[in-house]
């Protein structure tokens, strides 16, 4: 349905996407609504533009609240916007459960991500039962009450047994209707995400946090796209090893960096566990772009060209900025694979760029 407000909404969206009015870009805050997913609080992006004004910061002036609590104890959560001049709209706030599917949908909407098309011949069939039809016989547990009573009503009216003053309807055996099902085959595709992270000395806590946030969103999105998704985690410094999720995000190692070790391990895992005709493969590699030396980089290029790129749906490389890294690796990749369209590169300088980076990675719909 078309609303009068649509042009205004579109205009606002265009500003947020940076298509028009770049002077307002700096006022955009990527605020969030808090939803809840199981025990975790998750956020729904809600971009807002705050026009500049002569105003005080709330952190400075503080405010007045109501409720329990000792002096000196913290408020949970942070105070809201306070009240401003405006319409007298009465609202009240509810808490909400958001499922991961919904989240992925929201994410897709916000980032304008295309739905991912699985590679054609890799689709496998699986079958499910769908309740679509009605039968005259069936198990009692599948009896369709509404249809049954409808039949009974029809029969009673036809037989002249129906009295609108005293509407009593008694179904007999012939009236009974049952749900029936059909077997449907649905194409199903499988995907595996292989996360690789550089944990050499130069990757700090902040860098790991960026990787964590980004991989959570990527995971959410891909899970919504594929029925069955597997995730594998690889960490590497000068040698690579496979770890579980917890270790992946919490480990702190130090040492040199040999990226080829991770690529080699990925190749081994894929060859061993994932039949290329059945699986969609998504390797993601995060690093600060500091590699041991030119020789190892050359080895990486060979692995990519020879195996990883041809067998993956897309290969994503995200380079997190760190104070110590040289950031050379992304440049090497750019030089070697300028024309390759399933290698996706993204530089992430700080948290605010995660949003853009996810869009780079997932925006192509491979």
């Amino acid at each position: 349905m078309v609303h009068r407000i649509d042009p205004d909404t579109n205009r606002f969206k265009e500003i947020v996407r940076g298509k028009i009015k770049h002077n307002l870009k700096k006022y955009i805050s990527h605020g969030e609504l808090l939803g809840r997913q199981g025990d975790n609080v998750v956020s729904i992006p809600l971009p807002q533009i705050e026009l500049p004004r002569f105003r005080y910061g709330q952190q400075q002036t503080g405010g007045v609240g109501q409720g329990e609590g000792e002096e000196g104890s913290a408020l949970q959560p942070g105070p809201g916007q306070g009240q401003g001049a405006g319409d007298a709209a009465g609202e009240h706030v509810l808490e909400v459960e958001v499922t991961l599917e919904e989240l992925a949908e929201i994410l897709g909407e916000e980032l304008e991500l295309p739905r991912i098309e699985p590679r054609g011949e890799r689709a496998v069939d699986s079958s499910t039962d769908k309740y679509t039809g009605i039968h005259k016989s069936g198990p009692e547990s599948l009896r369709h009450f509404k249809r049954t009573f409808k039949e009974a009503l029809k029969r009673q009216i036809m037989a002249g047994l129906y009295n609108p003053e005293r509407p009593v309807i008694v179904p007999v055996r012939e009236d009974r209707r049952y749900r029936s099902w059909k077997q449907k085959s649905v194409p199903e595709s499988n995907a595996v995400i292989i996360y690789m992270m550089d944990v050499s000395g130069s990757m700090g806590t902040e860098q790991k946090e960026i990787v964590r946030i980004e991989s959570f969103w990527i995971d959410t999105w891909l899970k919504a796209q594929y029925r069955q998704i597997e995730t594998r985690y690889i960490i590497h410094d000068s040698a690579a090893r496979e770890v579980d999720q917890h270790t992946f995000f919490h480990v702190r190692e130090s040492g040199g960096t040999r990226i080829s070790s991770a690529y080699q391990l990925t190749k081994e895992i894929v060859e061993k566990d994932y039949d290329l005709t059945r699986w969609n493969i998504y390797p993601f590699h995060f690093s600060d772009g500091d590699n041991w030396g030119g020789e190892d980089t050359a080895l990486c290029m060979n692995l990519l060209r020879g195996f990883l790129l041809p067998s993956s749906n897309m290969f994503c490389y995200g380079q997190v900025k760190s104070a110590y890294g040289s950031g050379q690796f992304i440049k090497d990749l750019m030089d070697s694979f300028a024309d390759c369209d399933n290698l996706i590169l993204s530089e992430i300088n700080n948290r605010d760029e995660i949003y853009r980076s996810i869009k780079t990675f997932l925006g192509k719909g491979k």
């Binding site: 909404t9 579109n10 205009r11 004004r53 002036t61 609240g65 109501q66 306070g82 001049a85």
Partner: protein
């Protein structure tokens, strides 16, 4: 797009209206309309007016409302417009008891709009006026292009709060006292050299005297401050004195007019919501609610009154204060005898059975606004009972913490957040600073400094309107500073 009430809603409305009348509420007639949720969100995004000028900020509001509604985070129940007749919108999918509650709530709002002094200067035909504004702005967009007009509106909106919300209520500009006028006249007389009458025309030649008089007058004109007294209505000052195109002046006047229209709603948020909640609760619990509706009503009412630690709920604070006032005036808990009494037990059971509570709250709703309401009626007992506290931001732990429950501090903090809507007081001190047509503003110091990033950008917007350098005198990092934007860069200097 709207639908009128269905038959059963009409009957319900007549019932609620009669109860409201019986309680003594005196309201503008209310025109109810039924909307589905995205229509309601749209009207709410436009500030309650179905026709508003086009601007992206309304689209932004709409997006937010749509999202919070569709993800179940919040829901608008009611929307009411200060207009004669009042317009009120009901959400179509609400159940009947909710509609009844909202109607009762709306009639009390309408009574408040009609009778509260602070609404007395608002345009009661704002529905039409705002539609006219939209037509004018659309016309400018057709003529000058969307980008140009929108950019100017952005500019004006960034200055929107620079009005003097109290100015509509002061009748006359200050008149100059007689002596001052006489002194000015004396100054205008050129010095006359002493001369005998027959020498007069030679020693003080009339031509020269006339020239001299004009010279003095010119100098006086130059000396005269402009504006003569510091002016808080900066938008008006810009409208009257900035070098603007005619359409720009008109856009500025539209933004200003709407800003003044909405100001009383900001000034009386606590009272207005408190008053409406007081009456919906009275009407529902004593008259309208049927037995089977009472649970749903109670559920809904309590959700509206719920408080969150960080934010003050104006509905809750308002209704409790009105009830407290009614109770105090019923029992005679006021005046010097009450205040001088130190005996807690006696105070607790104090009841002179005066019964003037109802009359008192009607009086309160007539003449008070939030600031005077809180200042006059917030008592230590009330603050304690309602568990009010003042919070502050702790930089080390990066969170808001409860600072104190001390009554004086809490009240002071609350009044600060209400006075001028918690916004800084800024005046035009000089519109011809250094005799170079530059704008000199002063921020009245109240112990806090302005947000620097916003301040700079706002000054740039002021420059766009004023088209000459803009200065702002303010206190930053505990020093008095003058900040200047001259069109290309920002400068600051410290003043003694």
């Amino acid at each position: 797009m709207t639908e009128h009430l269905t038959q059963d809603l009409l009957e319900m409305r007549d019932g609620v209206r009669q109860h409201a009348r019986d309680f003594g509420l005196d309201f503008f007639e209310v025109s109810f309309e039924l909307l589905d949720y995205d229509q309601l969100n749209m009207v709410a995004a436009y500030g309650g007016f179905p026709t508003r000028y086009p601007h992206w900020k309304f689209g932004m509001e709409f997006e937010e409302l749509q999202k919070t509604y569709s993800y179940g985070l919040s829901k608008i129940y009611e929307l009411v417009i200060n207009n004669d007749p009042c317009y009120a919108y009901l959400m179509k999918c609400n159940n009947l008891v909710d509609q009844k509650l909202v109607m009762a709530h709306v009639y009390a709002h309408s009574d408040f709009f009609k009778n509260n002094y602070w609404f007395s200067c608002t345009n009661r035909k704002m529905m039409d006026e705002i539609a006219n504004h939209a037509v004018r702005i659309r016309r400018y967009i057709e003529r000058h292009g969307q980008r140009e007009v929108e950019e100017f509106i952005d500019c004006c909106l960034s200055l929107e709060n620079l009005i003097d919300a109290h100015s509509p209520y002061s009748q006359s500009q200050r008149k100059k006292p007689e002596e001052e006028k006489q002194a000015e006249k004396d100054l205008l007389q050129p010095t006359r050299l002493k001369a005998k009458s027959y020498m007069e025309s030679f020693i003080n030649p009339p031509g020269f005297m006339e020239e001299e008089r004009q010279r003095i007058q010119q100098r006086l004109e130059e000396m005269r401050k402009f504006p003569e007294t510091p002016q808080r209505d900066i938008l008006l000052f810009l409208m009257e004195n900035a070098q603007l195109e005619r359409w720009q002046r008109d856009v500025l006047s539209i933004i200003r007019e709407e800003s003044y229209y909405f100001a009383p709603q900001g000034m009386t948020k606590i009272m207005n919501e408190g008053w409406a909640s007081y009456w919906h609760s009275k009407i529902m619990t004593e008259k309208s609610c049927t037995t089977e509706e009472i649970i749903d009503y109670a559920d809904h009412h309590s959700a509206t009154m719920a408080t969150q630690p960080g934010a003050l709920n104006p509905y809750k604070l308002g209704i409790e204060l009105f009830r407290d006032i009614e109770d105090r005036w019923n029992k005679g808990k006021f005046g010097s005898e009450w205040e001088d009494c130190d005996d807690a037990a006696r105070k607790y059971s104090w009841d002179k059975q005066l019964g003037g509570g109802r009359q008192k709250i009607f009086e309160v709703r007539k003449i008070y606004n939030d600031v005077t309401f809180i200042d006059e009626f917030l008592t230590p007992e009330f603050a304690e009972k309602q568990k009010l506290f003042a919070y502050t931001y702790n930089k080390q732990t990066q969170e808001y913490v409860i600072e104190t429950r001390d009554f004086t501090a809490v009240k002071e903090r609350l009044l600060f957040s209400l006075a001028n809507f918690g916004q800084p007081y800024i005046y035009v001190d000089d519109g011809n600073y250094k005799n170079r047509g530059e704008l000199y503003l002063i921020h009245r110091n109240d112990g806090f400094s302005l947000r620097p990033d916003h301040m700079r950008d706002t000054m740039e917007n002021l420059f766009k309107v004023w088209q000459r350098p803009v200065h702002l005198e303010t206190v930053m990092e505990k020093r008095r500073k003058v900040l200047t934007f001259n069109g290309s860069k920002h400068e600051e200097r410290i003043v003694k």
